[in-house]
Symmetry: C2
Subunit: 270 residues, 2 copies
Amino acid sequence: LSKNLALRLIVAAVGIPSLILICYLNGIFLLVFSILLAGLAGFELASMFRKKGYHVNVPFSIILPVILILAAYFRLPVINILAISFFLISSIIILRYSSKADIQINELLNDFFANLLPVFYIGLLGIFIIYLGAVPDQGGRLLIYVFLIVWAADTAAYFGGKALGRHKLTISISPNKTWEGFYFAFIGALIAAIVSRLLFLEMGWLKIVVITLVACFFGQIGDLLESGLKRHCGVKDSSAILPGHGGIFDRFDSFFFAVPVVYLFNLYWH
Amino acid sequence: LSKNLALRLIVAAVGIPSLILICYLNGIFLLVFSILLAGLAGFELASMFRKKGYHVNVPFSIILPVILILAAYFRLPVINILAISFFLISSIIILRYSSKADIQINELLNDFFANLLPVFYIGLLGIFIIYLGAVPDQGGRLLIYVFLIVWAADTAAYFGGKALGRHKLTISISPNKTWEGFYFAFIGALIAAIVSRLLFLEMGWLKIVVITLVACFFGQIGDLLESGLKRHCGVKDSSAILPGHGGIFDRFDSFFFAVPVVYLFNLYWH
């Protein structure tokens, strides 16, 4: 047992029950968790871009996603916050260029994007954690189900890919990932979904199978997108805050994508 | 009178009364106008990025902003459409990289951004045209007021800058713009606001002055941002659809920024 794997297991042994408890308690506990998650992931994303040399406003990257989470919790119109964020970020981009002749215009797009993404990725997707938790009757249980399918998918992909992986999935983004691991993720997620359905979740069998497969697909898209952004910025982990696991954003990349999928399917499928 | 200026004046002589009529009629007329505006601006923005070599999905750049406008009109939750758009665009970005070894990772961020921006700029800001038009009692009149202050600001900035402009505003984005033109824009906008207030708009004097100044400021940020994006992509106009005026996006860049400002101030300032 390597030291790294031991650390991973200890963090998981503390973290997984804590997260399940937070989802179960819901309300203010989920709000505090979501604020920490969005603020830290926004900070990590901004830091990644700064390492690449982009001019990112770090306070905005933390505060704007947090304000979005708070707005979602207090049922304020988040779309207004998104528009205000767009204005603030546009202004700082333009102000950087005002009256200066020595700034290259090619930087503009990268700087603009690097400032927008913490809000329009972490913030936009993060608010759905609040929305899903607020689903009547079983919001907390739906969140626990999402965590379980995401963890099961990750684990199945890792071990399945290690044992049987032969065909590369995305060589230029994440060279160790394989199509075999990609398919194993769905098997892992389905097993976790069946367990959730038998133990605590009230949902039709067809609905839970479809939601799980779609959430698992987009969870893996989220995982690859985060890997792509990291590779673009030349960093291996989004931070080192979780011993053995890397950063918050590394651990929750699939979760950010899976939560809105489950929320939207649950909302529109009656 | 040059041929270009004559064309400009003819388009303005037809276009300005038409737009005022559309705002006055409101409802379905405003919806159709907003759909055309968002679809065309989305198309122009995508085309600009394609000229720069980015891999942009043009249909998505047209359809997703249009769906946002429709969702706003029918009072559906636009935030859900934004999340779905984010997922669709993330997926096409990742699919482009799947299994291919010969794609440079540096393209990923630019491609991602170039696909997101039509939705999260044109679409996000465009829905506020619908929201402002739907303000009780004087929604249409508020839109007419926004058009008047934006046109007055543009015109005052142009002639004021031409007559007195000496200090460059943003050399690297738009070398002809000056600080003098920037200040003249506020004077032009204020005159248009006073005329609007005297003729048709019900609003306290302090409120209209503050809203006008803030909307004029962000309108100019919107103008410069669009110029910056054009310069980044190496194009002079966003398209040639309006004879003498360039593209739709060129003509409405300030409008996209001014409308949400007026909507938000009007919403929160009682």
